[in-house]
């Protein structure tokens, strides 16, 4: 038997990142006490390096390697680039916040990078085992990040809830995968597809497996009724961690859904469409209605995430390229909005003060009209009001839904999103109509100021010229499926 050296080239970014994470840990051990910024700089450098490598190895073909367990295609490249950018921006926003709270340490950054590595593996997986490995690497890093503020009871509680429920979901997923393996005799995505399309397999086993897989996915996406962890984690964990949990992993989760449901089980789309419709409706109902009752902005945003994920799932039910690119566009827009929103939340938080009550936003327009304006853009975008980019995300998904022939579903989605508008408007009301309760100065560092402004203006700019972003998502989907 000959030992063939696999082609490492498609995995260069992952390999580089792994080396860098170890570097971050070592460097932090060596210089962490004297120069607390070292880990941060190295982490940014690692992400920048990954970006260069992915950009440098950009190619239009689909390449499989490691005996078909790993794939490098356009979708993977584009999603990974988006993940790097997102994580990098998240780290910039978080820096002051976590340094005020004494968790500006190697642990935070190495965990963040490990999570990023997990996302990259998920995005590039072409085998159920690789998918699962990536997912677990991501999840375990996230559990640890949530628990990072170990002197806080809320954070500990959130971490335990997150971990127990997350482990359960992983179990579901594995169980579902084992069913699929039992039915098809393979875990390789390509072989599974062929086996199902061959049509000799018992559907019963497959569908049972599919149910478990969809349940596992829903947990990761925080779609109702598997959403219970989200509000507690959002409320309990520190804002920097929530921003991390709520942003880049959603991109990875989208990649996960594409690999698992579309590429792997695409032949069973007739079965998972119905499940996704139910998940989408319950998510939108629970997310939008429960959000109204919240007085904690992070908890409210957790429910808002749930409803957004429900809306995103609607894009998938058409089971065609049109719908997938709509869903991808929705996720990208969602991540852009989440980054900005939590950026503002951390901006308003100071050492020893968390701006997590809705009342903390009172009179922001008096205190600082510019950031109030950015938050206004973000809220209207989340609500889907033009001229912000949010409306095109909703438009794309609704078009996909009508294209699939579900007119009633589009009307229902629109009515539920109207409920959602109310709680976004409430934030605008607090910022613009009420008088401030404090006049603490808002003075962010230069890099945060620039990035946050750019983030906010991007919402408006993409709202006026959405074509480039839509085209990117369409390109990614068309060249990979």
């Amino acid at each position: 038997m000959n030992f063939m050296l696999p082609n490492f080239a498609p995995a260069y970014p992952e390999i580089f990142l792994l080396v860098m994470v170890c570097g971050v840990l070592m460097a932090d051990l060596a210089w962490g006490d004297k120069k607390p910024g070292t880990a941060y700089l190295l982490a940014q450098l690692a992400l920048f390096g990954c970006m260069l490598i992915t950009f440098g190895t950009l190619q239009p073909d689909t390449i499989h390697t490691f005996s078909g367990m790993f794939v490098d295609d356009t979708l993977a490249d584009i999603l990974k680039m988006l993940v790097y950018i997102t994580v990098s921006v998240v780290l910039v926003y978080s820096r002051t916040y976590i340094s005020d709270r004494g968790i500006l340490s190697g642990e935070f950054f190495s965990l963040a990078l490990f999570a990023t590595l997990g996302m990259m593996v998920m995005i590039s997986a072409s085998h159920f085992m690789t998918l699962y490995l990536g997912l677990e690497l991501l999840s375990l890093s996230l559990y640890a990040m949530v628990a990072l503020r170990r002197d806080s009871a809320g954070a500990t509680e959130a971490a335990i809830k997150f971990f127990v429920l997350g482990a359960l979901a992983s179990g579901f997923l594995l169980y579902g995968m084992s069913m699929i393996y039992g039915a098809t005799g393979s875990l390789d995505i390509g072989s599974v597809t062929k086996a199902i399309e061959g049509g000799v397999i018992s559907r019963g086993v497959l569908v049972v497996g599919l149910v478990f897989i969809v349940a596992g996915i829903s947990f990761k996406l925080s779609a109702a009724p598997f959403h219970m962890w989200a509000p507690d984690v959002y409320e309990g964990a520190s804002s920097a961690v929530v921003l991390f949990v709520g942003s880049a992993p959603k991109l990875a989760a989208f990649g996960f859904v594409m690999r698992l449901l579309v590429e792997g089980l695409g032949a069973m789309s007739g079965d998972w469409q119905g499940m996704l419709i139910i998940l989408a409706i319950t998510s939108m109902v629970i997310g939008n209605i429960a959000a109204i009752a919240q007085s904690n902005i992070k908890r409210m945003l957790a429910y808002s995430t749930i409803s957004h994920m429900g809306f995103m799932l609607l894009g998938l039910i058409g089971a065609n390229e049109n719908g997938y690119s709509a869903a991808m566009f929705y996720v990208v827009v969602y991540v852009l909005m989440t980054m900005g929103t939590f950026g503002i939340i951390m901006l308003l938080s100071r050492a020893g003060f968390e701006a997590d009550k809705l009342d903390d936003y009172k009179g922001l327009n008096r205190r600082n009209p510019w950031y109030a304006f950015i938050m206004l853009l973000l809220m209207f975008s989340m609500a889907g009001i033009p001229p912000t980019v949010g409306i095109y995300a909703k438009l794309s998904v609704l078009q996909a839904v009508l294209n699939a022939g579900y007119t009633w579903l589009a009307v229902l989605a629109v009515l539920l999103s109207l409920i959602g508008v109310f709680y976004y408007l409430r934030i605008v009301k607090l910022m613009y109509f009420d008088e401030p309760e404090t006049d603490a100065v808002i003075a962010p560092k230069g890099d945060v100021r620039v990035l946050l402004s750019a983030n906010g203006l991007a919402i408006l700019a993409f709202g006026i010229f959405p074509q480039s972003l839509i085209a990117l998502c369409t390109y990614a989907i068309q060249h990979s499926t």
Partner: protein, 495 residues
């Protein structure tokens, strides 16, 4: 005709850019500068709109000043602008109102001046966009975007109950327009990938889908007009809004609903429009008769004028669904005239409110003794509001009543009751506020209007009288468009 020059884009974007410039002046230290830029911007916005009228060709109903560029390739959305005889007068009305609003708020608004002025300028540009979009998504973007400045205007500068009014205004209008968006996407599917409104005009549709789309459009436009029974947001919004907000709301934003019927419902859905005309006429007559009676018992002046707006807009929707020349043209004239009159009425109430800080009729009485010049202006506008011949209020109402007489005597009879109730609620209010002895000591202190207020009211008085005595310049530009629209609506789209 100015071929190739993007005049409509200029009309849309000049006020918006001026608004951004006003916002950029920042805090209230720079308030004089903000006011100055706002005035210059709004007057310039009006001046650039004038060529739309002077270069307009009244003999054709095809779109003029057309601009067409691909905007969002993925959905075949175009930046497609153009105006016809229906849209052009409304753009002029909007461009005309904006400087008045800026001047009216000149000294009155002292808090966050740049944001106030900026919001009005940006809204002015957005509304011009609504009236000139020929692409459904472009239309929708402008339509929804106009909610944001108005929401802030009511909520930031409004009265004590402003939060409730602002959120009600926003959610109410959004409910209707979201269903309109679904209808647009449905039409996009049926037309195999087009968002062009002019394509939709030619698109054959079955009766069932026409009715469903009609209902979706109706919710959007009826809320905006507003028609009975979805009018309840309007009194709240008007009462709480600052004077400028009320003026723009009544004079401009309500017209967006009426315009929607003419641009979308009638030409895209002719069969459903005929089918449901009875219902539309009934709703309109309820608005005219019942809301007229409701206006009679109001104790709050702004609320009274708000209800009178609903009644007057009932004439507009009535005129649309009679499907004859007089009806449609009368409705258009009524829209423009109501734009002038309601603006003037709200400004007059604003003048009194600035002095006494009350809108209650009972707090006034004998104002004529202290403010004779003002009383004369207010008299003119009150007469116009009750539809006195010689004022613009008469022309539209008279045309619509004539049109309904052609269709059914009882329609005309019910519509004509407004000549009595309209006069009753307006003049009774006038009498209680202006005449009589001065009872309240605060009224003694009131000073007559100054040069700024006289300027604004004079401009409006000239417009109201001019249109009342000689409406031809307005009717002649819309004549061909209205004829062709009626011919289009008369053809069935069923196959």
């Amino acid at each position: 005709m100015l071929f190739g020059f993007p005049l409509l884009s200029l009309v849309i974007w000049l006020p918006i850019l001026a608004g951004v410039a006003v916002l950029a002046t920042g805090g209230d230290r720079n308030a004089p500068l903000a006011r100055m830029i706002a005035l210059v911007g709004s007057v310039a916005g009006f001046l650039v709109a004038i060529p739309l009228y002077t270069s307009f060709d009244p003999l054709t109903s095809t779109m003029q000043f057309v601009e067409n560029h691909v905007w969002i390739e993925r959905f075949n959305v175009h930046y497609h602008l153009g105006v016809d005889g229906i849209a052009m007068p409304l753009i002029l009305l909007n461009a005309f109102t904006t400087p008045l609003v800026v001047i009216a708020g000149w000294e009155v608004i002292t808090r966050r001046v740049s944001q106030y002025m900026g919001a009005f300028l940006i809204m002015s540009g957005i509304v011009n966009g609504v009236f000139s979009s020929l692409d459904a998504i472009l239309f929708y973007v402008f339509w929804e975007a106009s909610l944001i400045p108005m929401f802030l205007i009511i909520g930031v500068w409004g009265g004590p109950n402003r939060v409730y009014a602002a959120i009600k205004f926003f959610l109410y209008t959004l409910l209707g327009s979201l269903l309109m968006l679904v209808a647009f996407i449905y039409l996009y599917q049926v037309s195999e990938g087009s968002f062009s409104i002019l394509e939709y005009h030619k698109l054959p549709l079955s009766m069932a889908s026409q009715i469903l789309i009609f209902i979706a459009f109706l919710l959007a436009f009826a809320v905006k007009v507003p028609m009975w029974p979805v009018h309840t947001w309007l009194p709240d919004a008007h009462v709480e809004a600052p004077t400028g907000g009320s003026v723009v709301l009544a004079a401009i934003l309500l017209k967006m609903g009426g315009y929607g019927f003419l641009r979308f419902s009638l030409p895209i859905l002719p069969d459903a429009s005929h089918q449901l005309a009875g219902m539309m006429i009934a709703l309109s007559l309820i608005a005219v008769v019942y809301i007229g009676l409701v206006a009679l018992v109001q104790a709050d002046m702004k609320k009274l004028i708000a209800y009178s707006s609903v009644a007057h807009m009932g004439f507009v929707t009535l005129g649309f669904f009679l499907f004859n020349n007089y009806g449609l043209e009368g409705a258009m004239v009524q829209m423009v005239s109501h734009g002038f009159i309601s603006a003037a009425m709200f400004l007059c109430i604003g003048v009194m409110y600035d002095r006494l800080h009350s809108r209650q009729i009972a707090d006034y009485g004998g104002v004529a003794h202290r403010m004779p010049v003002f009383a004369a202006f207010f008299m003119l506008f009150a007469m116009a509001n009750s539809g006195l011949p010689g004022t613009s209020g008469f022309v539209g109402e008279f045309m619509v009543i004539m049109a309904s007489m052609k269709v059914n005597f009882w329609y005309a009879f019910l519509a004509a009751t407004t000549l009595i109730t309209g006069a009753a609620y307006t003049l009774w209010m006038y009498k209680r506020v202006i005449f009589g002895a001065v009872v309240h000591p605060a009224v003694e202190e009131m000073k007559d209007i100054g040069a700024r207020e006289i300027l604004v009211l004079t401009v409006l008085a000239v417009a109201v009288l001019g249109m009342g005595l000689y409406p031809l310049p307005l009717t002649e530009v819309m004549h061909t468009t209205v004829d062709d629209l009626l011919a289009h609506v008369a053809r069935s789209k069923l196959q």
